[in-house]
Amino acid sequence: MTSRKTVIVLGGSSDIGRAAARAFAKAGYDVALAGRDVAALEPDAADLRARYDVVVGLYKFDVLDTASFEGFVNGLPALPDVVISIVGLLGVQENAESDLAHATTIMRSNYEGPSLILGLFAEKLLARGTGTIVGVSSVAGDRGRASNYVYGSAKAGFSAFLSGLRARASRGGVHVVTVKPGFVRTRMTEGMKLIGPLTVDAPVVGGAILSAVENKSDVVYVSGKWRLVMLIIKTLPEAVFKKLKF
């Protein structure tokens, strides 16, 4: 028997994290869920075991605690085949405009932490010569918008980090996927006005991450419509863009 493949989901308790874990478990992966509150992950672990009869491990991981990253990675029983970072924090743009601490948390949660941890995993995977890294970024990183540029800029940094890492890692047998989900109905977007046809449910994102890994895609927009929307938004001249209420 060949041993089963393994996936680690960083940010395992988010709606997208749960959905991704389910998609991979369904495809036969054993799963490691990592999050700030391990006890809160227990029911999700039980869910995966009951549904798919897979092995599930739980690990404590805090994306803001960068000092713990090396110990965290070295403490895992085995290096996973697939590493997915779904960690992120939308925050409140209005508050971030004047509250430096809040702005810092948004920036660190979406750029610094995810980039550092995936970078660290990448070194290990490159040393082994196989593996896949998945970073869940955002269409918000494609162009800064008046309504959420603190978050968007951090996601932009993360997207750039991933594309650079991809270029380098591909020469070493390691594949890097950037996922841009667009609007997703989750806890994070609850109460927000989302545009129906551009909005997907978390399981759709979970499925998209799995197929991106299996198909070795580079950058995936979960809903194809977003690729077009962002292409238009990215190419609008700044003079026009700044006048748009967006």
Binding site: A46, R51, E190
Partner: protein, 441 residues
């Protein structure tokens, strides 16, 4: 406040919609006038809180599963579609499924839903062993046939009025495949249709689709679909043992003008449907469980076909004795109106399990009507026929029956109300439906 409606999109009313993330938050969400909502597939006002509606679909975790016994413990927001997709390939399916798979376990318990097998296997509640219930009084209790049995039997079919179901333990059936061996019988009139259903009593699944535009001698002409779970040996070489259930591809993008549904279009559709089905009649063949159980799920948002004002479903059950005459009278009036349902569904039911469960031994007829014109009066007249025959209407489909119709149809109501009062003396749990039909005024 948010505008909320059921699947029929009538009525549309204000109710605060809350999406708690933990069981503690569910408890805190309950204020006077709250009711749970599953996936909103009840047609009328059952899943709309008088003041606040507590959405439960976020609770979608399976707690445990025993692959030897098929026993499963899960949160009430798990959808049957999810259960089928997850456990079907492992050889397990729910014992009972309604005509859409997009219902939650909580909603299926609260309505004690019936499937095409009610006549021989009973309703959804029969396969539920216990529930974790958050009562209106603020207690969280485990209820089963042995423990808190009053609460248990009042919750099955109790339309959410005993409290909020948080978790349930139920049994799944083992199947060899995800395929159904189907036999189609064409019946030229109502007598033949009822006869074919009676003859199909020993089939696990049976249902009739009636052409309700047919009149006179053709009144009640229909196609009867009988079904059994197919074994591996019945599948052609190379076929997937468990077919995949694609998510709805086609969607109805906007409300069709009510004009689209008129005498001519309905008649033409029914004629075509009947002829195509009749051609398949006779032999038996193997079909995927998805089109067999959930024919309408292939088209997302099909409720928009009926236009912006929404539509009503009228589903009654008539006790066996005397059913022929009443069903004939109802179908005759519907056919004479001409603008009725696309298709009517006729099937046999057995005894219900919950105190307020809809099923009773007899025939159930389900009809759809767009909300327009004198439809309310027309349906009131139909209700008189139903009540006179000792029948009742299904609360999960209702948006308009009168208190008198309801009270006449559900003689166990007193007992239900007494249990409800003991679980919720202050009357915190109230839906638009309960305000319309149950609560003291």
């Amino acid at each position: 406040m948010t505008l909320v409606s059921g699947w029929g999109r009538f009525p549309v009313v204000d109710s605060e919609l809350l999406r708690p993330r933990s069981f503690e938050a569910v408890g805190e969400a309950v204020v006077t006038g709250s009711v749970a909502r599953g996936n909103g597939r009840a047609y009328g006002d059952a899943a709309i809180g008088a003041v606040r509606t507590v959405a439960m679909t976020g609770f979608d975790r399976v707690r445990s599963f025993d692959p030897v016994t098929g026993r499963i413990r899960l949160e009430a927001g798990v959808l049957l579609s999810d259960l089928i997709d997850t456990f079907g390939p492992r050889g397990f399916l729910p014992f009972v499924v309604p005509g859409t798979r997009f219902v939650s376990v909580g909603g299926a318990i609260a309505a004690d839903v019936h499937g095409k097998n009610h006549h021989c296997e009973g309703g959804f509640g029969r396969y539920v062993d216990s529930i974790l219930l958050r009562t209106g009084q603020g207690e969280t209790i485990e209820a089963s046939r042995e423990e808190n049995s009053d609460a248990f039997f009042a919750t099955i079919g109790g339309m959410g009025l005993t409290g909020i179901i948080l978790e349930a333990t139920m049994r799944l059936r083992t199947v060899e495949t995800g395929w159904i061996r189907e036999r189609v019988i064409s019946a030229s009139d109502l007598d033949a249709a009822m006869g074919a259903l009676d003859a199909g009593d020993s089939s696990t699944y049976s249902v009739a689709w009636i052409d309700c535009a047919a009149r006179g001698r053709d009144l009640g002409r229909s196609l009867i679909y009988l079904g059994e779970h197919a074994g591996r040996g019945e599948l052609a070489e190379g076929i997937d043992v468990f077919p995949s259930g694609k998510n709805p591809g086609l969607a109805v993008p906007f409300d069709l003008p009510a004009m689209t549904l008129n005498r001519t279009s309905v008649r033409a559709f029914n004629e075509l449907y009947y002829r195509m089905g009749a051609r398949r009649a006779g032999g038996s063949h193997v079909v995927s469980l998805y089109p067999y159980f959930f024919p309408l799920d292939a088209i997302a948002d099909w409720n928009r076909i009926y236009g912006r004002r929404g539509f009503l479903q009228h589903q009654c059950v008539i006790p066996q004795a005397g059913a022929r005459a009443v069903l004939g009278e109802i179908l005759g009036r519907v056919a004479a109106r001409g603008d009725a349902s696309f298709l009517a569904v006729l099937k046999k039911l057995g005894q219900g399990d919950g105190i307020l469960s809809f099923p009773l031994p007899g025939y159930t007829l389900a009809l759809d009507f767009p909300v327009k014109g004198d439809i309310m009066n027309f349906l009131d007249e139909i209700d008189h026929l139903v009540v006179a025959a000792g029948g009742r209407l299904y609360l999960a489909k209702d948006a308009r029956q009168s208190r008198a119709t309801f009270e006449a149809g559900y003689p166990a109501l007193q007992r239900f109300n007494a249990i409800r009062r003991s679980l919720d003396p202050a009357g915190n749990i109230r839906s638009k439906l309960s305000q319309r039909l149950f609560d003291e005024v």
